[in-house]
């Protein structure tokens, strides 16, 4: 890809040192996010997708540690950025929403308070404290209206538990967007929601992305969500990227058996005969992974050639997959 990237991650490795050994949660991840782009990151629980983006946010908690790699956000290298600079960047330039808004919002404060808090924290303008608080409160109501919460000026004083699940998700999005970030990382934005609400929240994110012109990462285990909303997709397995490319191509013609497996396990409404085929087995224990294709034990196509570390192979100009059967040259 030649156009300017907003975020460029190379060889990211995040490891959790535990008593039982080192857990390589993220093991050599490369990824790019362009301006205005929506990237979908897919994978089962434990695939390292959340840890990868926590690393980008600088929010990996001990015993986790970024061991290697580079994270370039525009012209700044985040892995070596001063912690105070990093703090200023969080919430202001890169914002994040969590899976479950009920647990991510502080139960002790009103939602208006929590939205305004972000705004005040990043408001470096002059003016009296009182002025800034008043402005932040007004902006909180504005943000709540923007994310589609009816009667925002009254509800701004309600507590998180007084909202429904979908409304809470919207509030979390309002908090994340309050400072107009350049990049929004939405970690499982729909998992905790009813199906009908899921669509609303995803549409909202798409709409705001278009209005504010920001880039969005949707982390999910649901390829269906990605297919509908993301320009590009990144499939992760056991701490590695196994396939990446434009969503429509990857969905139409997956080149990694894991991606194919994920696609087959999506229920389809339009085909009566299609059966849901689960991927057999589970994600391997991330401790002491063997030096071979990590999907090999579960792969229907595994061959002798899979018993060595597999590198990403290019497919055309915009796709890659980590499989010996992928690639232009067999």
């Amino acid at each position: 890809m030649t156009e300017a990237q907003m975020l460029k991650v190379r060889g990211l490795r995040t490891t959790f040192r535990t008593r039982h050994g080192a857990i390589k949660a993220v093991d050599g991840v490369d990824l790019d996010i362009g301006y205005g782009e929506c990237l979908g990151v897919v994978g089962e629980s434990g695939s390292g997708k959340s840890v990868a983006f926590a690393s980008i946010m600088g929010l990996v908690r001990p015993p986790g540690r970024i061991e290697a790699g580079s994270i370039m956000f525009e012209d700044r290298e985040l892995t070596t950025l001063d912690p105070r600079e990093m703090q200023r960047l969080r919430g202001k330039e890169i914002a994040m929403t969590f899976q479950d808004a009920l647990t991510a919002l502080n139960p002790a404060f009103t939602v208006g308070n929590q939205i305004a808090e972000t705004i005040i924290t990043h408001d470096k303008s002059d003016g009296s404290k009182r002025d800034r608080i008043r402005r932040a409160r007004a902006r909180a109501v504005e943000m709540m209206t923007l994310v589609g919460i009816p009667d925002a000026s009254r509800r701004v004083n309600d507590y998180p538990h007084q909202f429904s699940g979908g409304m809470r998700q919207r509030i979390m999005i309002a908090i994340a967007l309050a400072c107009r970030p350049k990049l929004l990382i939405a970690d499982e934005p729909t998992t905790a929601l009813d199906v009908t609400i899921q669509a609303q929240v995803l549409d909202l994110i798409a709409e705001i992305r278009a209005t504010l012109g920001m880039s969005v990462v949707i982390i999910t285990h649901d390829l269906g969500v990605v297919a509908e909303h993301c320009h590009r997709v990144l499939v992760m397995y056991a701490g590695q990227v196994v396939e990446t490319g434009p969503t429509e191509n990857v969905v139409a013609e997956p080149r990694h058996p894991y991606t194919s497996g994920l696609l087959r396990s999506i229920p389809r409404l339009n085909d009566r005969n299609a059966r849901i085929l689960p991927i057999k087995g589970t994600v391997p224990e991330p401790i002491n992974l063997p030096d071979e294709c990590r999907f090999r034990p579960r792969c229907p196509m595994s061959a002798d050639g899979c018993r060595v570390p597999i590198a990403m192979r290019k497919i055309g100009h915009d796709r890659e997959a980590r499989c010996i059967f992928a690639g232009d040259e067999p």
Partner: protein, 335 residues
Amino acid sequence: MQLRTLIERILQLIPVLLGISIIVFAMITLTPGDPVEIMLGDQISTPEQEAALRRDMGLDLPVHERFFRFLSNALVGDFGNSFFHRRPVSDLILERLPATIELTLVAMLIAIGTAVPLGVVAAVKKGTLIDRIATVASIFGVSLPGFWFGLLLIMLFAVHWHILPVAGRIGYDFEVPKVTYLLLIDTILAGRLDSFLDALGHLILPAVTLGLPMGAILMRVTRTSMLEVLDQDYIAFAAAKGLGRMRILIRHALTNALIPTVTVAALETGSLLGGNMIVETIFGWPGLGRLVVEAIFSRNYPIIQTAVLLYAVTYVLLNFAADIVYTLLNPRVKL
């Protein structure tokens, strides 16, 4: 919180308090030992004299009449006369109460003031030396009996090093005008630094002794709930918002971690009342606790009755206050 529910809650306290007074009265009545006999002691008396004394103290009436007389008098603040002092019980207790309130308040402040910050630090620095020291200290604090710890402090600070006085509330040469009856405040109001320091010196050992177990338990509770809260999503989300570490710890974590701490603090403050009796006895503190201990030894029913009732009412009110603070901290809970 609505005024209506608040009033309802206050009204609910009435049956509780009535129940307490019945239990208190029953316990006293059923306790073996005849006050008249104890009072007369070795003196030779005629049955007529004994009967007169009994009638005089109201002990000849049937039980239920004695109870209702006790209750209706109590409502107007008349708790009868002390069998021995021959003075109204209310006077005796009011005389002693400020000393106990002062001691309890300072013990509470010491306990909360050290326990909460220490608990927070121990949780944040979990597994480090500070955490281990705090944990060991809290085990000592809970397990050391007050009478032993108090004596130890007296031996070290008063007897051995002569830094602090052995007992009492203030030196004999200090005369402080009584305004609030709390010496620390009265000495300041009088503008007398020397008497303030003397009063503080007298207060510090008993307050530490009294506050130690409460502080130890509060430290544990704060540490545990803080650890739990720090693991919550909303702490990670607060960090993702770009908030500073102190703001996250104090505002986002501690506010939630204090919820269990407040409940335990209220219960523990109640148990300070019991601790008072021991501590006041050891340190010769002229408070209610010592009055009660003396009264128990001499079967001085009116004083015991009133004091126990007072303890119970305080306990109930403390819990009520804890409930209110609890709802303020935790908007999910309604009264």
